[in-house]
Amino acid sequence: MVIIINSQKLAKFLGYKAVRLFILLVAVAAVSFIMVEISPINPVKSYAAEMGASAQQIAALSAYWQVDVPLGEKVVSWLADLLQLNLGISLIYRIPVVNVIIQKFTASLVLMITSWIISGVVGFGLGIIAGGTRGSWIDKAIKTYCYILQCAPSFWIGLIIMLIFSVYLGWFPVGLAVPVGTMASDVTFWDWLIRLILPAFTLSIVGIASIALYTRDRLVNILNSDYFIFARARGENHWSIIIRHGIRNVLLPAITLQFMSFSELFGGAVLVEQIFSYPGIGQATVAAGLRSDVPLLLGIVLISTIFVFCGNTIADILYKYVDPRMKGDENE
């Protein structure tokens, strides 16, 4: 497949997308801020409750955080700070939210990208095999596997995997990204990698189902298509047609779907990180929610918005610019 991308058109498209992202972020930031504001969460209480502050100290804190300022003013100042990339200080970690997010998100990104690639490749492969052997026991086995995974909750699968591999077999540590009681400088790459395997594995096998079922369905449609019939009539054999024509026609929509699944990936990571105590963005989200760390929570909302938006934009680009059939529109 030849990829011909008109750079001028693409720049225009990306510019348009950037404006959309900006508007979306402002809206998400404002709405989520207002929702937190009208919720019973009170930053002063959650902060002071932990240390038993006096009434005087609480009043000082209230003044410091400007609790009594009207909502409209608060939203405006929050958005103004945001424009300067100032997301405030995390209540839990006592460092700027931006730093927390960078640190946690990097850890999560490794986990998410690994499982995203594994689930994509394995899911696509299984889908092609199932579609190609449609109706056989192989197809049925793959379909059954996918249906089970599709309806099993990912935290439950995570627990099962942990039970089998960490508890019974003892092949992997039960949790955490690095060994307990080791200096950060002493943690080896291997220590970190071995703790990544189970969460990534869990997240992968959960992601396989949808991509495999989708690929299978598309391939079965192609097997019934006119061009498949003609390829058979020309004497090409079944698997040769699947490799030459099937994969070619399924690949692009499948990759697109995989990019669209960024939101599910993020949601899955939250649960899986919690189970395996993997210190990523998912765990930070849960901690921020449970301990009323409003600045961190809002920061994570924004970063996840950007993350999902990027996935969808890449899917859009693939559809619009890589398919040769769209080339005609581009030349206009």
């Binding site: 019939i229 009539a233 020309r234 040769s240 040769p324």
Partner: protein, 313 residues
């Protein structure tokens, strides 16, 4: 006959369908079809669109859908074709010219599709051959670099034709090669098909266009409600009196140049006990209602009618 390239004997094609849960229903699309194609001969199967003619092409090539059942025998050069034999012959000795550009992979360049799946070391040779054939059928070299959606109607037809002919087959099955084409392209197609016959290939032309059949074919088989009711020489279609079946006669008389004489009635959709044309037949008799006529040879013309040689009542 010894010089028959393709012989189709008593072929019936049916489909198993599920209606209302697990209840199965067998849908018969082609019944008791017999015909033959000789070397250098064009035989047309003429029938209304959507009547299932294409399935005969699919049966000959062994590409019927899985729920399709094909009974009867199909032989190529006197050898009965099994599914394995069909797979061996198709693309090499028997080729299909499909209906439309939809039969090409939308994401693959035309050239790659035409040469098919070849080994790397043979690729250069295949590409050279493809270039020659494309040139022979009036396609510019750059057409090979195009995707199917970039082809015009006439170009697509030539691409389909030359793709089918790359392997120099002995038998060509052309399935509706002229739908939606302008007159010039239709004439070109007719000439291309005639040229194939002159080169000694046998051609089975499946079409619903009477004119194309009349201009191209040596013999024409009339397809009615799943049955072949008459196989006659193309030149006999110029004279209604040389046609035997009442349906064929009314079909030819309905042509504008022959007086536009229309008869009413439709083809039966369900399997009937007697002659499929019974309902609409002007010369029917009692025997026609419950006895199916066989396709018989009458001085070289194949006819499926109890009363063709009797006087019209």
């Amino acid at each position: 006959m010894e010089n028959d390239l393709l012989t189709v004997q008593n072929v019936s094609i049916s489909f198993t369908q599920y209606v209302q849960g697990l209840q199965q229903h067998i849908l018969k699309v082609i019944s008791d079809l017999s015909l033959s194609v000789k070397e250098g001969e064009v035989v047309a199967i003429l029938g209304s669109s959507g009547s299932g003619k294409s399935l005969l092409a699919h049966a000959i090539l062994g590409i019927l859908p899985e729920n399709g059942q094909c009974d009867g025998t199909i032989s190529f050069k006197g050898e009965v074709l099994t599914q394995e034999k069909k797979e061996e012959l198709r693309g090499e000795h028997i080729c299909l010219i499909p209906q439309s550009v939809n039969f090409l992979d939308p994401l693959m360049k035309v050239r790659e599709q035409a040469i098919g799946d070849v080994k790397d070391e043979e690729k250069e040779k295949a590409l050279k051959h493809q270039k020659e054939i494309f040139e022979k059928y009036g396609l510019a070299e750059e057409v090979g670099d195009m995707y199917p959606f970039e082809l015009s109607g006439g170009m697509a037809r030539k691409v389909l034709l030359s793709t089918a002919l790359l392997s120099d087959p002995e038998l060509v099955v052309a399935d509706e090669p002229t739908p939606g084409l302008d007159q010039a392209s239709v004439n070109e197609t007719i000439n291309d098909i005639k040229r194939l016959a002159q080169e000694g290939k046998g051609v089975l032309l499946i079409t619903h266009e009477i004119d194309v059949a009349l201009k191209t074919a040596d013999r024409i088989a009339i397809f009615y409600s799943g049955y072949v009711i008459e196989i006659n020489k193309a030149e006999n279609f110029n004279d209604v009196n040389k046609l035997l079946h009442p349906y064929t006669k009314s079909l030819i008389e309905a042509l504008p140049r022959n007086g536009f004489k229309l008869t009413s009635g439709v083809q039966p959709l369900e399997e009937v006990d007697g002659c499929p044309y019974f309902e609409n037949c002007p010369i029917r008799s009692d025997i026609c209602q419950n006895n199916k006529p066989d396709l018989i040879d009458h001085n070289g013309i194949m006819i499926r009618c109890h009363n063709f040689d009797k006087e019209v009542n």
